[in-house]
């Protein structure tokens, strides 16, 4: 419980405060919930093995050759799950970008970050942070995908100018 609301409860016997702007009475909910999910990556483990070696992997349907990024273990064209892991071309062209100034609270440890989408030379597109000067970035320019260590200590792919 936040100290301010604790104090209000002590003083008034209720967790009710006045809204700063409108003055309307607000009950301050005491049942705080912290959310963090556990997400299965069991079927895409090779992707993370690839990251460790600085490679970007996608999946390819052995039957029809369809390439998937993000990787998926089932091919809806063939109704088949016989896929292979392939290293994607780590170069391509920039499609579009933005710079995220107002960040989600869970990203508050990072400075405003540019985000780009690139089309890799063998087809799939990829969205990632852009390591480079966003003001110099233009659609169609050559970019590469590389792996680096995040401030939070884990490995992730990013897009950078060639």
């Amino acid at each position: 419980m936040k100290d301010e609301i604790k104090k209000v409860i002590e003083e008034t016997g209720l967790p009710i405060v006045q809204d700063e702007k409108s003055g309307a009475a607000q009950w301050v909910d005491l049942r705080e919930l912290r959310l963090s999910y556990v997400i299965s990556v069991e079927n895409i483990k090779p992707f993370y093995e690839g990251l460790k070696e600085g490679k970007l992997l996608g999946t390819k349907c052995k039957k029809c050759g369809r390439l998937f990024f993000p990787p998926q273990k089932d091919c809806p064209s063939c109704f088949d799950s016989d896929i292979e892991w392939v290293e994607l071309k780590n170069e391509g062209t920039l499609e579009t970008m933005t710079v995220v100034f107002v960040r989600p609270p869970s990203f508050s440890m990072y400075d405003p970050y540019p985000v780009a989408i690139a089309k890799l030379d063998d087809g799939p597109k990829i969205l990632a942070w852009y390591k480079g000067d966003p003001q110099q970035a233009k659609p169609g320019m050559r970019v590469k995908v590389q792996v680096s260590k995040r401030k939070e200590g884990y490995l992730m792919y990013e897009i950078a100018p060639v």
Binding site: K21, F69, P70, M97, T98, V99, V100, P104, V115, L127
Partner: protein, 395 residues
């Protein structure tokens, strides 16, 4: 079976920061006028649907909550979620329930109480809509950022400018100032937008729709009920299309169009008997999903109000003001009226009713001589799109 479905009652709460009401009170604000305009009571409702995205607000069982508050129990209901298109998804449920013959009168409510959570939490939660795992978890995309990827691509491809985007905000504030239900009732100029801080380049604060509390309600009825009740004031749903896009932005073909919107528009035009190559000839106006300024311009093109790459010229030449080629968002749009996620699609339906029946407030009534109005409601960043055509005459 009812071939035709009509909107026979509408209600709209004041949109804005509504710290003065709780969720059921906010719902009743739009339900009451909807019952009154339809001349019906809660007992007349066969089924009701609530469009509500929730998460940032405390109550999840909104249908049960309003059943209790407004005497709708024990009638059947559900809550539907399609992100920012939840309201139109709710209308689709009501529309199809009546078309199928399973219900004759359906109440559709859209509601969102976003201000029950602090703004940073809302920013975080909205950004999570898309591919949570691949695009949010590691890259911290926000809702403005997702659309900014489109805004940038559009500028680079066609030569539109940030000032062009600002012009959309200026128009929508101009009309919002004339809408007593709008969150922002002040006019702004291009400079106001250009001087506001960046949220996600190229979008600045005034390119973005606000975080809003609000509710909107429509009552739908079968053709038979319309006859039986002798309803004079109504509009008909002439067609509705729905489309879905990929979760990941990286799986999209284009960033200057929303594939789900072009798909939904084609379906809706076909159902309503509108020539897809020249829809503005049939429409008196439209409400499009301007959660940010650039998507309004992209919507002009996805809806074929103009050719590809010419949307920014429409706003530059003020062709989407009243008196132009097609008036768009003359209730203020999401930008100035506010964007209470689940309520937005229903609010657009309320606006279609008011415009077609010439009940809009002074200064923002379009000329009605073709008798048709379009609404375009997008969930996420083209993850869902609903396009609906309303008309004074049934098909």
């Amino acid at each position: 079976m009812s071939e035709n479905v009509a909107v026979i009652g509408v209600g709209h709460s004041k949109f804005g920061v509504r710290m003065d009401v709780n969720i059921p009170e906010l719902c009743w604000e739009s339900m009451k006028p909807a019952f009154e305009t339809a001349n019906l009571e809660p007992k007349d409702i066969d089924f009701f649907v609530v469009g509500n995205a929730g998460v940032w607000s405390s109550e999840a069982a909104v249908p049960a909550l309003i059943a209790e508050y407004a005497d709708l129990a024990p009638k059947g209901s559900m809550r539907v979620e399609a992100a920012c298109a939840s309201g139109s998804a709710a209308i689709r449920i009501g529309y199809t329930a009546i078309k199928s013959g399973i219900a004759d009168i359906v109440l559709v409510l859209g509601v969102e109480k976003m201000r029950e959570s602090p703004n940073p939490n809302v920013i975080e939660l909205i950004g999570r809509f898309g591919s949570y795992f691949w695009e949010f978890e590691n890259f911290g995309l926000t809702f403005p950022a997702y659309y900014a990827l489109h805004g940038t691509a559009y500028m680079m491809k066609y030569g539109a400018t940030e000032e062009d985007y600002a012009r959309v905000a200026v128009k929508n504030h101009y009309y919002g100032a004339k809408n007593p239900y709008a969150q922002f009732q002040n006019e702004i100029d291009v400079e106001t937008v250009m001087k506001s801080p960046y949220i996600a380049w190229p979008f600045k604060l005034f390119d973005c729709s606000p975080i809003t509390d609000g509710s909107a309600c429509v009552i739908l009825a079968s053709e038979e009920k319309v006859k039986e009740l002798g309803i004079d004031e109504k509009i008909w749903i002439l067609g509705q299309g729905a489309g879905t896009g990929s979760a990941n932005m990286s799986r999209r073909e284009s960033y200057t169009s929303l594939a789900s919107a072009t798909y939904a528009a084609e379906q809706a035009y076909k159902m309503a008997g509108i020539d897809i190559d020249d829809p503005t000839k049939y429409l008196d106006g439209a409400n499009v999903h301007d959660c940010f300024t650039a998507p309004e311009i992209i919507a002009y093109e996805d809806l074929r109000f103009c050719k590809r790459g010419e949307g920014y010229k429409l706003i530059r030449e003020e062709q989407t003001y009243i008196g132009g080629k097609i008036p768009v968002n003359i209730d203020g749009g999401l930008k100035a009226k506010g964007h209470p996620i689940g309520a937005t699609g229903v609010s657009q339906a309320v606006e279609a009713y008011k415009q077609l029946l010439q009940k809009a407030e002074p200064g923002r009534q379009a000329d009605i001589n073709k008798g048709k109005w379009l609404t375009h409601n997008v969930g996420g960043t083209g993850h869902y799109t609903y396009v609906t055509i309303y008309g004074l005459e049934k098909r």
